[in-house]
C-alpha cells in the first residue's frame, strides 16, 4: 500500500510541476497574445531570457504524468484516451505546434519573415494547449464520460464539451499567463520593463479571479458538487484560504512595486488551488456517468506499482537536482 501512495504522490507532484513550470511556458505565449505588436517583441525577449534553458525540461512533466497513468493505472489511462480522444488530440496538436515553433524561432539561423509565421503559431498554440488541458481536467470530474454510449456525439463529444469545461479552460489559460508574468518580473532589473510586466501581472491576477468565479458558476449550472468538494473538509478550506491570502499578498506587492516575493506567492496560490480541487474527490481520479475510477481501486499490479515507486524515487534523485541546478545556475550567471 505504501508503494501505491508513493506513486500517487508523484502523480500529483508531476501534475503540479507541469502546471507550475509548463504552465508558465504556455503563459509566455499567452502574455504575448494579449499585448500589442510593439510589446509582443519585448515580452518575447524578456521571457525567453528567463525560460530558454529550462524549456525542454518543463514539458517532460507531462510525459511523467502519462507514464505514471499507463503503467500504474492502465484502466484510467485507456478510458480517458478513448473517450477524450478529441480534446487530447487537439491538445497534442497544440503541443506539437508550440514546441516546434518555439525551437524554430530560436534556432533558425536566418532572421526574416518566417519568424512572423513561427510567432503566430507559437502564440496561438500557447493559448490552445492549456485551454484544452483545462477542458480535459474538467471532463475527468464532470461525470460526462459515458462508457455505455453508442452514439458518436454522446460518447466522444459531449464527454468533454461542457460550459464547465470551457470555463476551466479559460481559467487554466489565465493561470498560465499569471505564472509567466510573475515568474519573470522578479528577475527584471530594467525599471521600465518591470513596470510594464507589473501591469500584466495585475491584469492576469484579476482575470484568474474572474474566470475562477465563472468556473464556480458553470459548475453550479451543471450541478457539479464543486463547492462541496472544496469546502467539504478542512484541507479544502485551508487551501482556499491560503490561495486567497496569496492573491491578496500579490496585490499588495504590485501596489508597493516590490516584486521579489511575487513568484513564490503566485506559485503557492496555484498549488493551493490544485490542492483544493483535487483533494475533494480523492481517491477518485475520474468521475464517470457510471461510477468512478479510483486510484485506490486495488486493480493495480502490486509488483508493477512497487517497481514504479522505486523508479520514480530513483528518477527524482537524478532529475530534481539537475532541474534545480539548471534553473539556479542560469539565474545566477546570466
Amino acid at each position: 500500500m505504501f508503494d501505491l501512495y508513493v506513486v500517487i504522490f508523484f502523480l500529483w507532484t508531476a501534475i503540479a510541476l507541469y502546471l507550475l513550470l509548463g504552465g508558465a511556458d504556455f503563459g509566455v505565449g499567452i502574455a504575448e497574445l494579449f499585448s500589442n505588436k510593439k510589446n509582443q517583441e519585448r515580452i518575447h525577449k524578456i521571457m525567453y531570457r528567463e525560460m530558454g534553458p529550462v524549456w525542454e525540461a518543463n514539458h517532460m512533466w507531462l510525459i511523467i504524468v502519462i507514464v505514471i497513468l499507463f503503467v500504474g493505472f492502465p484502466q484510467i489511462y485507456s478510458t480517458l484516451s478513448t473517450y477524450l480522444h478529441i480534446p487530447l488530440l487537439i491538445m497534442l496538436l497544440g503541443i506539437i505546434a508550440r514546441g516546434t515553433a518555439f525551437t524554430f524561432r530560436h534556432y533558425d539561423a536566418v532572421i526574416d519573415n518566417w519568424h512572423k509565421v513561427y510567432n503566430k503559431i507559437f502564440i496561438y498554440s500557447s493559448f490552445i494547449t492549456p485551454f484544452f488541458l483545462g477542458i480535459i481536467a474538467a471532463a475527468t470530474v464532470s461525470g460526462t464520460i459515458n462508457t455505455e454510449a453508442t452514439e458518436f456525439s454522446t460518447a466522444y463529444i459531449w464527454s468533454w464539451l461542457t460550459p464547465f469545461g470551457i470555463a476551466l479552460g479559460v481559467f487554466t489559460s489565465c493561470i498560465c499567463g499569471y505564472l509567466a508574468c510573475s515568474y519573470t518580473i522578479s528577475q527584471i532589473e530594467n525599471e521600465e520593463e518591470k513596470k510594464y510586466i507589473g501591469k500584466k501581472v495585475k491584469i492576469f491576477l484579476i482575470s484568474v479571479i474572474l474566470s475562477g468565479g465563472l468556473v464556480f458558476a458553470c459548475a453550479g449550472y451543471q450541478n457539479l458538487p464543486l463547492i462541496r468538494w472544496i469546502y467539504g473538509g478542512v484541507v479544502g478550506w485551508a487551501a482556499v484560504l491560503f490561495a486567497t491570502l496569496s492573491a491578496i499578498g500579490a496585490f499588495y506587492c504590485i501596489y508597493k512595486n516590490k516584486y521579489s516575493a511575487i513568484r513564490i506567492l503566485a506559485g503557492f496560490q496555484v498549488i493551493m488551488i490544485l490542492l483544493a480541487v483535487t483533494y475533494g474527490h480523492y481517491p477518485d481520479l475520474v468521475l464517470l456517468k457510471q461510477g468512478s475510477l479510483s486510484l485506490l481501486s486495488g486493480e493495480n499490479e502490486p509488483k508493477t506499482i512497487k517497481m514504479l515507486a522505486w523508479a520514480l524515487i530513483l528518477g527524482s534523485i537524478f532529475i530534481l537536482p539537475g532541474v534545480f541546478h539548471l534553473i539556479y545556475s542560469f539565474q545566477k550567471k546570466r
Binding site: I63, F70, S81, L93, I96
Partner: protein
Amino acid sequence: MDDFIAARSQMALSLGFHIIFSCVGMVMPFFMAIAHCKYLKTGDKIYKGLTKAWSKGIAILFATGAVSGTMLSFELGQLWPKFMEHAGSIFGMPFSLEGTAFFVEAIALGFFLYGWGKLNPWFHWFTGLLVGISGLASGILVLAANAWMNSPAGFDFVNGEYLNVNPVKAMFNDAWFSQALHMIIAAFIATGFAVAGVHAFMILKGKNLVFHTKAFKIAAISASIAALIQPLSGDISAKDVSKRQPEKLAAMEAHFHTEKNADFILGGIVNENEHKVDYAIKIPGLLSFLSHGDFNAPVKGILDFPEQDRPPVAIVHYAFQIMIMLGVALMIISILYLLAIVKKKSWLSKKWLIKLFVMAAPLGYIALEAGWVVTEVGRQPWIIYKIMRTSEAVTPMPGIAYTFYLFTLIFMSLSLIVIFLLYRQIKMVPYLYDETDPKFIHKPTNK
C-alpha cells in the same frame, strides 16, 4: 479508409517519423562530443564552430523528437486502448525508466546549449556527452518495450487474464538484447551516413572545405565502423527471430514451403497466389544456415502456419530485401572509405568517394525504416505476439481515417520545416560557425 487500417497507418507514420529524430538524439551528441573534445584539446576554432553548428542541429531535431515522442505516449492509448489497458502495467516499466533518461537528456541539453562560457569547459563538454548517453539509454529502454510485444514475458496468460505480473522479467524479455543491439548500430549507421552525406555535399560544392572535411571525417568514420559491425548483429537477430517468431522469418524470406537446405532468396517479386518468388536470386542452403547454423536444418514455410496467424508476406519480404541490400551497399562504401584512410590516402581527395557518400546520405534511414517495417508488420496479426490480436486492441472511436489524414499533413509539414531549417543552418556556416571564413560575424554574445 477502414478505421483499423487508418489506426495502423497513423501509428506507423508516427513511429516512423519519431524514429528518425530519436536516432539523431542518440547519435549526433557523440559526434558533437568528439568535435568538442578536439576543440578543448587543440584550441582549433573550427572544431568549436562545428560543435556549435551541430548542437543547433541537435536542438532542432531534439525538439521535434520530443514533441513526436510526447504524442506517441498519448497515441498508444488513443489508438490501442485495449492493448494499453492490459499491457500498460506489464511492459510499462521501461517507459517509466525511459522517462527519467529522457528527462536527463533534456536537462543536459539545456546545460549544453546555454552553457557556452558559463560552465567549466570540461563540465560543459560532459553535459553534451550526457545528452548522447541518456539518449542511448532511452533508446534501449523503448526497444525493451517493443521487444516485449514480439516476445511477451513476465506474466501468465490464463483464461484471458494476465496474472502473476513481473515487470522486470517483462523488460528483460528474450528479444530485448538482439533488437536493442541491432537498432543502436543502425542508428549510428543511418545518422552517420546522413550527416556525412550533407557535409560531403558541401565539400563537393567547395564551400568551407576545412570545416566540412573535419565534420565529414567524424561522421563518416563512425558510420563506417558501425556499418561493418552490423552484419554480426543482424546474424544474432536472424537466429533469434527464427527461434521465437518463425512466421516472421518465413515472411521476411517469402519462404512458403517447409524444406531442408532452404534457399536464401534475394530480391524477386512475391507471387502470393502461386506461393513462390519470381525472378529472385537464390543461394542454396543459406537460409537454413543463417537461421539454424546448419545447411541441412529444416526451415518452416509460411504455409505451415494457420492462415489467420500469418503476417503479410509481400510487404515484409520487400522491406527485408531493401534493408539487406542497402546495408550491403553501405558496407561496401564503408570498406572503401576505411581502406582510403588506412592505405590509399589519395582516394580521400577523389570526387567519386565524396559523391558516393552524398548518394548514400538517405540510404541508412531508408534501411532503418525498412527494418522497422519487418519487425512491426512481421509481428502481425498480433499486437502482443500470440496473446492479443491488433484488431482486438483498436479504439472503438470511428473516424480514425480523418485523424490519420491530419497527422499525415502535420508530419509532412514538420518534415519540410525541419529540412528547411537545417538547410538554413548549413547555408549560414560561413557567417556563424566557421571562424576562419572572412565572412564570419564576430559577436560578443554566445547565443
